[in-house]
Symmetry: D5
Subunit: 126 residues, 10 copies
């Protein structure tokens, strides 16, 4: 549980999608999961945080229940904060191919310090 | 109650309007309805949320009491969050033909996750 | 009390001004009146709200005590929210001829919905 | 929907129980349901509120999922606030026969007034 | 408007009641009206506050809509805070003859000071 | 300004009273003054705080405007927190002869510490 | 993971103690752990909550780091809320033999309802 | 105390400065003083408010203790809100010659209205 | 820095007192110090917390500035939470001999858990 | 402890780094340390504040535990607020060579004034 690398790469297969019925309009969907928990890869102690996902759907939306199971699957993985956020970003981009997507991870105080990591997928920016 | 499609399409007829007495000026009206409820199309369980409508009127304003009845009419409809917000947007645009309109739906926690959907009608943007 | 039109048009005469001693500098003044009340023109029931006035003075500033009396004078008038905000905007613009002025009316919950109306006088924008 | 009396009296049958594994100790359980909705028996408009149930179990505890379905069953009933709270109190006392039970209903603003009703079952008091 | 005495003594006739369906049980009803306004008997300026009514009904409950009209009827009366609270207490006791009743008036800041007045009807205490 | 003793002892003469119209009932009046300021008798620097007065009137109530002037009169006095609270208590007891009276002074942070002093006049307790 | 019974009974052995250096005085210690998580025995989904422990030590105090490991050990156990709270109570009483101890579990919203369970060890009460 | 004009113009001499050790970098300093008090030039009654100073230092920073004494020196001056803010702005600009400076005065409720005045020194803007 | 025992026992000598000018009346003084810091005797890492002192003075009051220096003197001491609170209690009782005294220490999150310790000196209780 | 200059310049050596695994993407990391304390170089009294670090990593991220030790190392240093913030900025830029970095220091009330200092490293701006 204490090594960061061998996280199961196939996690994204848990995510399910449904058709976006309003693809002509750019609109924003935000899902906030305040009950995220994973494991610190250094100490093996649990980490806790809130994951926020904001996106503009293209052809697909992420199904909410499968998102819950996907996030629950990190419960016993050992990962750094920076990896958690970038990992979720890449899985969601792969599965729903959105016009825009942002993942924010707000992690609880450890050693008197709390941390927030934010990563964005924005094909228009480049 | 568990299928999303056959929602009564004529809901917009509940909405009443009155003349905008200040059409020369761009000004903004916001109505916030924290007592919105509909039904989850998958489980048949009730969903709860807050609907916020912001718009710049052109010739017509939406009458407040009719807006209340309109929003109450979703009480027993089975709709996904994304559909609720886009559906209300299209009905209001059809009825008051505003210069700008935005609908935000903030939905209560389900399975440890809460969601916010935002859609905008902005003819100037295009 | 239930018709909107015959509101006393001379209300603005209640407003008093004093000379802006710093006319060379663009600075902002905000007055917030959380004790605004008028009457619903449809039902005759009282409405309650908060009126916020923000402006950049030119040659004149509005005197605070006269502003209080001016806002109190709406106590028994029957007016829609949209009219209250635009009416106050026009009176203040007429009396203090500001470089910029914005009026915001936040009105208490009626039928489970609360409303905010915002109007702006901005000669530079046009 | 507009008469209070003919509410289905068998509602309590929705409630399920499980055995209290710690009957030797007086301890307190509180369930808070902020998504309660019923119908005003006078106007037919929806009412919204938060129901709080506090009890000391004797031999039985109320099962949480059945409690959700029980509270959802009020969705289309026309009842006064005072009746909602006393009705739930009596159903729960009948089904779980607790050592103590209190029901609090906090109902959203109607006509500028919000209301709280509290009823208690306390066999020791008498 | 500036003399306190000649307030219409028949105000209580606005209040309507309905039968308490649960008279065997002592339970508590609270109505909170945050939009109370009357007039300062000294200056003629409006006063604003929040009136809270808590009672244990005996045979009668106060009907909510009539309570709203009753409280609205103070809008143009000139009364001191202490009088407002005691006056409402006596009217409600006369009309619903409760087992217990408390009225609290919380009044907005005047001259940098805000005030709270609380009066109780408690026949058991004596 | 730096010696505590020679505070003008006749301050209480600023306080005015009016007749309690409901002397048969024990009821409570609270006045909260969040804009209290005096001077630190050691350093001559200003102190700031909130004074709360709670009392059960007997034959007299304190008049609100005179209370404001009374509290303003401490603006340039040098007094310790403990003295401010007990001093106000004694003046008010002398002038309104209440059935009960409590004074609370909450004083802003000085040197990283904030302070609250509370004193009570309760003839029944003795 | 879905059966409640076979929870490892020897969990209490994780708890370490140290000598109370002030046994002559009754004083209170409170530890609050807002990052508690266990598993729902019915669905296998994670539950989240806050555990609060309040006690008056006799000869022993619970060591804080061992308490953290003890609470972490529930991470993959399937237990009802009522069992979690009573179980922790009994383990702590066994290990530190306090003069008084209370455990409160506040559990996050599930199905629109959140729950609080409170159990007490109070030898003086009996 | 009731005339605005003859305020002591040399107040700025109270302000002390120290050398900015990081002049190569544009960085921002904010000092917030929630205990500001002056006197209303119309009524002689005390005014209360919060003064916020934000600036980008050039060669000098304002020393914090001298800033406190400077702000205290307004305690018995009679000035309008608009004058207080512009006056402080001009004194600070004269003494520390900053790259940018903004003064905000938030003043407590008077007659049911509270006020905020904001003035900026921004040589780049012109 | 890592052993708890050899804390300088003469710390109490830092505390200064002044005469209670109102010894005939039981009144309460509370000092709250949110900037307390000491050192964890196990790890040598800093601990942070808020110390609250409430007492009824007899003949002496504690002088506020000396209290600040007294609390600052714990900055580099290694002490458990339970010891900090009981130690301060005993020093203050020794120096001001109060009629009643309570010390509360609220300590920041360590390992996901925060703690509160409360101890009381109450000669009347025994 | 009262001179600002001789702060140990090698503090930055406490900071450790790890490889950024997602260098192709611009993403933001924020660490918030609400338990910062240093010493006032003028009075020798402790200062308290919250340090926030926001950055876009290039090849390196700062390791969280070493950041804690780094910030703890200011505990007994005498430094002005402006120096603390610029000093930390320069050390972090030297060690992690980020694409962007901002340091904010929010310092507790001293003499009734609290302060915020913000400095930025932004190579793109120049």
């Amino acid at each position: 549980m204490k090594v960061e690398n061998p996280v199961r790469r196939e996690k994204y297969k848990i995510l399910e999608v449904f058709d976006n019925k309003y693809p002509k309009r750019d609109y924003e969907v935000m899902h906030v999961a305040p009950e995220f928990t994973s494991v610190c890869p250094k100490t093996g102690n649990p980490d806790f945080g809130k994951i926020t996902i904001q996106y503009i759907p293209d052809k697909k939306c992420v199904e909410l229940k499968s998102l819950k199971y996907y996030l629950n699957s990190f419960r016993n993985e050992g990962m750094f904060y920076e990896s958690v956020v970038n990992f979720i970003l890449e899985d969601l981009v792969k599965v729903i191919k959105p016009r825009y997507l942002k993942v924010t991870g707000e992690f609880n105080t450890r050693g008197g310090i709390y941390s927030v990591v934010t990563a964005e997928f924005n094909p228009k920016k480049k």
